[in-house]
Amino acid sequence: MKIVLCVKQVPDTSDIKWTENNTIQREGLESITNPYDVYAFESALRLKNKYGNVSITALTMGPGQAEEMLRKFIALGADNGVLLCDKKFAGADTYATGKTIASAIESKISDYDLIVCGQFAVDGDTAQTGPSIANFLGIPQVTYVKEILEYSEGSVLLVRELDCGVETVRVKLPALICVLDNDFEPTRATINGIARGQAAKIERYGIDDIDLGVEQAGLKGSPTYVSKAFRAPQKQVECEFLTSCDDLAHQIKVCGGLCE
């Protein structure tokens, strides 16, 4: 079975600093691997460990520095890395991102069984990229996947965790899945793994390599655009610190509408 794992570097949103003009200070902003893509990887790796004869190609569209993330996944057990990197990809919304990744998979990987994505990326949290890739490739998708139960005869059996229930589904391959958080013990890199990661040749493709027109990629290929960005309004309250439980009980009653 051939797996393509879509991973993304995101800014570490827990550590954002603001400039005086209320814009995000981008220098010094750390990049991390999207946490859901790590969960996605762990699910794929377990499939590989269980069945053998499974290969994992980690793929990302991003800046040159994203190569390090791909090496890290190879160190942890992925087989190959593919970096889609081109100035013309910049500014892509999820539609253009999906289109670019789908074109790359079609023209460069063509032979795949399962595409594994994270359910969300924590910077944008749109949860759209996976389904967009699937639609461009014309393959089915299953989102909110909690667990991959088994792989047999051209299909995978999956558990989905939804708002109101838990669903078990079987989907025919090739297919794309989006993976939720799971509590697999995070895999640790071995010395050999790290060496393999460092030595691996990362395949790097630009727009001319993947059968995509300039008008289909990046900002140009994006139907949506940001017209305005602003700092989220902070709640305009000053916390009043209480020191006695009597006062606290009183405020709870007032705020909760339990007394006049």
Binding site: T168, V226, Q234, C239
Partner: protein
């Protein structure tokens, strides 16, 4: 020319029209007023025997038209089947705006529709408006909730998803002559690649309590153990409220995932949210900062939760809550 605002009418697992549909329709009425009263429409993908029982639900909610497509196979949601039906239907309806609830089903289905129609999609919006050029201005949080972005779309339909509880449903009846229109879609040769083998529904009570609660008593890692959560339950019971949790508390097994509040949990907006032993990470507060009043109890006076709360008490919740219980 594209016309009207179309709302995808999800049927939830308990076979009701999902409440988010009526939250969206009340917003759509507002938007429609800024677009020369462009029609407000619904799309229902439904099993043929059920359509009549749903018609009543759409009356007096301000819909001008309810489009429906029927097929025996629509009893169980499957992404590829519903996407195919929705894509064909939306092509025929040709709306200028399409709104969908950011539920599991909505988030699963919508990107398939937008991608197939070659248009954009703005997910998880917290505000929708019409700008001076008549475009849908969809505002959503990014960067873990710290940055807000207003997004426009060059193509039609302009699509957006909105989480449940972000907008309020209209309270008063909006009397309109709602037209019910059956659309035909061609699914004759369609074979789904997805087979649903089992579905275990969570208890309805479990799902809905957070949505309807006026008072939520929430616990985080600081509530440490089952005893801590038992205290919260006592407090909640005394106040006629319900218990929620941070993700860490859920991961510790102290509460069910169904009551997790935050980015990867639920959005709640009760009258009063009491946060006990919760630090106030953005991924948590994004799900509760629209509560009318917030009260926090935390041992750390520098915990970020105090930046967004109305009243705070610095101290050990294990000492404070028992005292509160005797005073309430």
């Amino acid at each position: 020319m594209s016309k009207g605002i179309l709302i995808y009418s999800e049927i939830s697992a308990d076979e009701y029209i999902h409440t988010v549909v009526f939250e969206l329709s009340s917003k759509a009425l507002e938007l429609s007023a800024k677009l020369d009263n462009t029609p407000v429409m619904a799309l229902l993908i439904i099993r043929p025997d059920l359509i009549n029982s749903y018609k009543e639900a759409f009356r007096n909610c301000g819909f001008d038209k309810v489009f429906y497509v029927v097929d025996e196979r629509f009893g169980v949601y499957k992404n590829d089947l519903f996407a195919e039906a929705a894509i064909q239907a939306v092509r025929q309806i040709d709306p200028e705006i399409m709104l969908i609830g950011a539920t599991c089903q909505g988030r699963d289905l919508t990107p398939r529709i937008s991608t197939a129609l070659g248009t954009g999609l703005t997910a998880d919006c917290t505000a929708l408006d019409i700008n001076e050029k008549g475009q849908l201005a969809a505002t959503r949080p990014t960067f873990g909730g710290q940055l807000m972005a207003t997004i426009l779309c060059k193509k039609y339909p302009q699509m957006a998803t909105v989480r449940p509880k972000v907008f309020k449903p209209t309270v008063e009846n909006v009397t309109k002559d709602t037209a019910f229109i059956k659309l035909s879609v061609d699914l004759a040769g369609f074979e789904s690649k997805i087979e649903v083998l089992d579905y275990t529904k969570k208890a309805v009570a479990e799902i809905n309590t957070l949505d309807s609660a006026d008072i939520i008593v929430a616990g985080g890692k600081g509530m440490k153990n089952e005893e801590g959560f038992a205290l919260l339950k006592k407090l909640a019971d005394k106040l006629g409220g319900t218990v929620a949790a941070s993700r860490v508390a859920v991961e510790m097994g102290l509460a069910s995932k169904d009551v997790q509040v935050g980015q990867t949990g639920k959005t709640v907006s009760p009258k009063l949210y009491i946060a006990c032993g919760i630090s106030g990470a953005l991924q948590h507060t994004i799900g509760m900062n629209s509560a009318t009043k917030i009260i926090a109890i935390n041992t750390d006076k520098n915990a970020p939760i105090f930046d967004i709360c109305d009243y705070g008490m610095v101290g050990d919740a294990f000492e404070i809550i028992p005292q509160l219980l005797s005073k309430l």
